[in-house]
Amino acid sequence: MSEGEMAIIKPEVMKSYIWLQTADGSIQQVEEEVAMFCPMICREILQTGMGSSKNYAISLPQKVNPTTLSLILDYCRFHQLPGRSNKERKSFDEKFIRIDTKRLCELTSAADSLQLKPLVDLTSRALARMIEGKTPEEIRETFHLPDDLTEEEKLEPLRNTADDLRIRLLNRLYARKRKELKEKQKMKNVEVEEERVDDRSVDDLLSFINGGDGGFEGVRAPKNKKKNQRRKGHSKDPSTNDVNKNHKEMDDLSSACCKEDESGNVFMASHSKAAKLKVAVDGFPPKVEFDDGDIDDELDPAMKEELDREVEDFARRLNSDWPERMQEILSLGQDRKLVSISMNGNGSLRRYTSLERR
């Protein structure tokens, strides 16, 4: 070979390559300076001397698959050049992370196992941006997360604390409802059922509250304290068997309703105005010891007004439907299907599901 030809071949020969092997067995070669940008590969080369030939390829961690590896090498190839300006690097980074979420997560994992911190930070920033400020539904969709929490669990645990006031209201309304129904029962000359302590914790009752701007505005703390005091006196009577079956159904219904979003609210809202409602119900829920001494303290007048209106509205609507619906529910027998009554944000009823099955 002449000198001239040797000179032409030389540059290619001089460039050294590193051989990398991914977990699936495939081997790639990559320019040395690009590979050295990864701390883990760099260390492998320096400490063990591996990577210089195909037989002695550096095995990469399991998380690095071939597609991810090529992405990472692209990143390294761009950034290892010292001559790039900050602006160039930034715009490269912005374009680089525009990949689907699955690949982005794989990339993050792989970069972490290769200890490539700048890439880990870049991808983490991107992922954080995708999660920050989005609703849970949006996040689940973006990242293909399974929606496998029950409604209950979704409303725990922090939302309780944010809605303390509503929770207390709810409890009172529920208690009031029970008392009203008991009154009705007494007036029909039926023996009062056995005392049953409601040992459901406050948390269970809380669980149907939607923490956001859910439709709980339709609730109003009732102002019939006097009635309570009267009822308390009668509270400790035993129950009868007649009523037990109905009572049980009623209970199931109540508990079922309680476990649903806002359905309980709606339920309770109507019965807060039990004095005005003409509810003909045979069964009645168990008695609850309840101290209503501090009901109306926290509500400010504006909220009271609003709640008042909403409850009136709802009561009117429910009044017409309620007796028939109750009969239907009770006649469903031991069927413990959950009743899904949901209420949308502004307080109006959206649908009765199982109840509509005729």
Partner: protein
Amino acid sequence: MASCSTLDMLSNLPENILENIFSRMSMRSVVRTSVLSTKWRYKWISVPHLTFNDNCMPVSRGHDILVKIVNHVLLLHRGPVVTFRIASSQLQTCSDIDSWILYLSFHSVKEFKLQISQSKRHNLPQCLFSYGQLTHLILNGCIIVHPVTFKGFSCLKSLLLEKVTLSNATLEILVSTCPQLERLTLIDIDGPSHIELNNPKLKFLYIFGNFIDICLKDLSTLDSANFCATNAAHADQQRTCNFTNFFGSILSIQKLVIRGCFLQSLAIDDVPRRLPFTYDHMKSLSFTLNEEDMKEILIAICLLKSSPNLQEVEILLWRSKESAIVPVMDLQEARDQMKCTFNKLRVVKISKFLGREIELEFIKFILANSPVLETMNISPATNGVDEVLMLKELLRFKRASPQAEIVYLDPKI
């Protein structure tokens, strides 16, 4: 769904990555991940940085809800708490705060911030002083009393006290027992009349509020200092630090800002014609100047002369004959002092300009002695300026720098 599970890569990311992601999200979003799916229910509870502020807390719900939320989060939390910051406009003094501080004392907190925006200040519990790993401390709206056994925060790098009440002794011990202290900020603190600073690593100092007698002792690492006194020192106020000592302790300063009546407070002493040292590193100097006060004018000239490498100067002018220590009679003494060259001065800004003699003297002095000056910004006082007359004068001044521009900014309406 099978396809769902293979697509969901996010949930299986290792903990350190999740922590990285969580650290870039607001507290609110972090906690909300608990309702995404079963796997995500308790991923957030070991997040080491807890920040509660108006952005992530429901402001409309008030103090009680805020307290409940913080209690709930702390109750669920597992693992070390590296950062705890609470700065909500709704936070009032209450015993829950003490519980939080006690709880955190077992969690090796490194950064702690407590801000009470209401007028009633909170009495800090003494367990705060047992935070041995503390590197950053911000207290706002508190009453601080140190325990007698307090030996100092050995790792504290940054201390910010704003609207706190404490005694001279407490401030003294807080500041002097922190050998690693790099940043100190005191804003509107009640109580101390005196402070002595000799922290070997102090880089940044910011003191704002009533005049405090500041005694600096050889702060050779101080880069940037900002002093603002909202009221002048009383004539009979004890002052242990005189002008030369004060300025002699900050020789490596790069940026100095003096506002309010601070310069005046220093001017009570005798002002030497020339300081026995120079600020070779000072790049940026900004000060307010009462142009009716001869002593302040002399200090200003003295400072300028002692900073040969100055690159930026800003002078905010104001006028008050009553506050003047030595009222201006004759400017000859000032003119005599104005002899030096600013070899690196590039930008000058003069505010509240009225076009009076002393102001014009300053500008003349700077223009004639700044060979690399690029811009002289003059911002006039809102009224009382005879623009044409003044501009005529300015036009005549000799300029050492051929590229100097005089930019006359329109008065702000």
